[in-house]
């Protein structure tokens, strides 16, 4: 049994435990928090989602919720599932682990998720649709069966959004070799708004173009101004930008209006986001995108962890990727991959560009439910 401490990387620990078939125990979950120690509602919600997708898993939580024991079951998945994600974290929090888990199911996964579609802490559904899914298609060599449909958008704090995710099954992953960054050839994006004037989307696009057009003329940002049933329960707006390179790599950045979720965080919110006019949000997203381009690598900072995980699950061949400076999330991912699968990456820094070549021999994790025909 592997032992961990704290609530960091909660989802990835459970996903890795499930895929590797190893039991885990997590202690001291927010033990230092005097007001609300233990698991939060979104973590409990994720555990319930995990129980929906697997057969025979055992979850034991102590009285205060500060310790958790998890014995994984068999991933089943299936069609027609649905899950209410609540409103304390966005749908992105739940989508991310599903993308990997769903590939190793017994049946095709088709699930409806309800909640907040875009917020300022998790990747939004547009990022998943325009960057994460193409990345999966590219690395797994899949053509169809991978789809994320946004039925309705929902902003924080009340949510009300709905997305449908469909995933194919794999027997095993293919080798991954992504070392060519290429040069940025075009920039696309989506500016969305819920329950506010449609003009807001154009103002965000103006803000982003003001920065990006100095470097590139080929910038086109789609606008999606929703109202009525397709716009959820709260007002909000934001923008997702994607830079596409000549080698087919996608780098993304996003920014959105930060609605306050509770009174206690209101004060710091006001300090942090003094200016939340649409132009500033567009400009900030553009700056974040340029920051990602400057850092380099075949994926942006937010996708480093996922790509490393796919490499580690891959076949017993050399899987190599080129990344920008590692994010804290990616560093913890690397440690988990060593603990769960015994996969150690060799990391080579290229000094002139500051990028990192990460190479590993995969653990060759196979889908046990799928018969070899």
């Amino acid at each position: 049994m592997l032992k961990f401490k704290g609530c960091q990387h909660f989802r990835q620990r459970l996903v890795c435990a499930t895929l590797s078939g190893r039991a885990i125990r997590i202690d001291d979950i927010r033990a230092a928090d005097p007001e609300s120690p233990g698991l939060r509602d979104f973590e409990a919600s994720f555990l319930r989602l995990l129980e929906k997708l697997t057969n025979g898993c055992v979850v034991e939580i102590n009285e205060t919720g500060t310790s958790l024991r998890y014995r994984p079951g068999v991933v089943v998945c299936g069609a027609g599932l649905s899950h209410d994600c609540g409103t304390s974290r966005s749908i992105g929090y739940f989508l991310e682990p599903l993308l990997v888990l769903g590939l190793y199911g017994k049946k095709l996964l088709s699930i409806t998720l309800r909640g907040v579609t875009n917020d300022e802490t998790d990747p939004g559904v547009d990022t998943f649709r325009t960057v994460t899914l193409p990345l999966l298609r590219k690395t797994l060599g899949l053509d169809d069966g991978l789809e994320l449909r946004v039925v309705s958008r929902g902003a924080a704090p009340s949510g009300g959004g709905e997305v449908v995710l469909r995933l194919p099954l794999v027997k095993q992953l293919g080798p991954i070799k992504m070392e060519d960054e290429g040069m940025v050839k075009r920039i696309r994006g989506v500016a969305y708004s819920m329950k506010v004037s449609p003009q807001v989307t154009n103002r965000m696009v103006d803000g982003a173009r003001g920065v990006l057009n100095a470097l590139l003329a080929d910038v086109y940002v789609f606008t999606d101004a929703t109202s009525g049933a397709a716009s959820g329960k709260s007002p909000g707006y934001g923008i997702t930008l994607v830079a596409e390179t000549t080698s087919g790599c996608l780098l993304s950045a996003e920014s959105c209006y930060a609605a306050r979720r509770s009174e206690e965080s209101a004060v710091e919110m006001v300090e942090q986001h003094q200016q939340q006019v649409p132009e500033d949000i567009g400009t900030m997203a553009a700056h974040l995108l340029l920051e990602e381009v400057r850092r380099g690598g075949v994926v942006d900072g937010g996708h480093q962890g996922l790509l490393l995980l796919l490499c580690a699950l891959g076949p017993e061949e050399a899987n190599s990727v080129r990344l920008g400076p590692l994010t804290p999330h990616a560093v913890r991912t690397l440690r988990h991959l060593r603990d769960f699968f015994g996969v150690t990456f060799s990391l080579r820094t290229e000094r002139s560009s500051g990028t990192i070549f990460a190479t590993c021999v995969g653990a060759n994790v196979r889908n046990v439910s799928r018969r070899v025909t």
């Binding site: 032992k3 401490k5 960091q8 929090y93 998790d122 942090q272 440690r335 820094t349 002139s352 990192i356």
Partner: protein, 126 residues
């Protein structure tokens, strides 16, 4: 032969400088591995308690302490073990100041060759 006299020793000392410097910087790769995986990768003789603890698969939190803990870098509230569970790179306000104003124009110019509108030969060199 000037080299055989006093200056010769200095020249010999200087001869290997470039090679030694590059050798020093090439060790940065193992620094990174040590930072990610703890001291195990490079600590050969000095097998201290920290290293033993890392080997049994538990108490992962001690890793990389000597090189600056990653967990201390990001803000998630609570202790370092309870950082916010998100893959998104949360931007700190000061991280983006280099893109604004006059400094921003310079940073943009430095990035020019990463775009197809820049110099392709420079861009391919990476």
């Amino acid at each position: 032969d000037d080299d055989s006299e006093g200056m010769g020793a200095a020249a010999r000392w200087k001869a290997g400088m470039a090679a030694r410097t590059s050798a020093f910087f090439s060790e940065r790769a193992s620094d990174l591995a040590a930072f990610v995986y703890g001291k195990r990768a490079v600590a050969d003789a000095a097998g201290d308690d920290d290293f033993e603890e890392a080997a049994d698969g538990g108490a992962r939190a001690n890793d990389g302490k000597g090189l600056g803990d990653v967990d201390g870098d990001d803000d998630g509230g609570g202790g370092s073990e309870d950082t916010l569970d998100t893959c998104r790179v949360l931007a700190r306000p000061e991280a983006l100041t280099s893109w604004r104003g006059d400094a921003g124009a310079e940073t943009l110019a430095a990035l020019r060759n990463r775009f197809v509108t820049g110099d392709w030969a420079e861009g391919q060199r990476r």
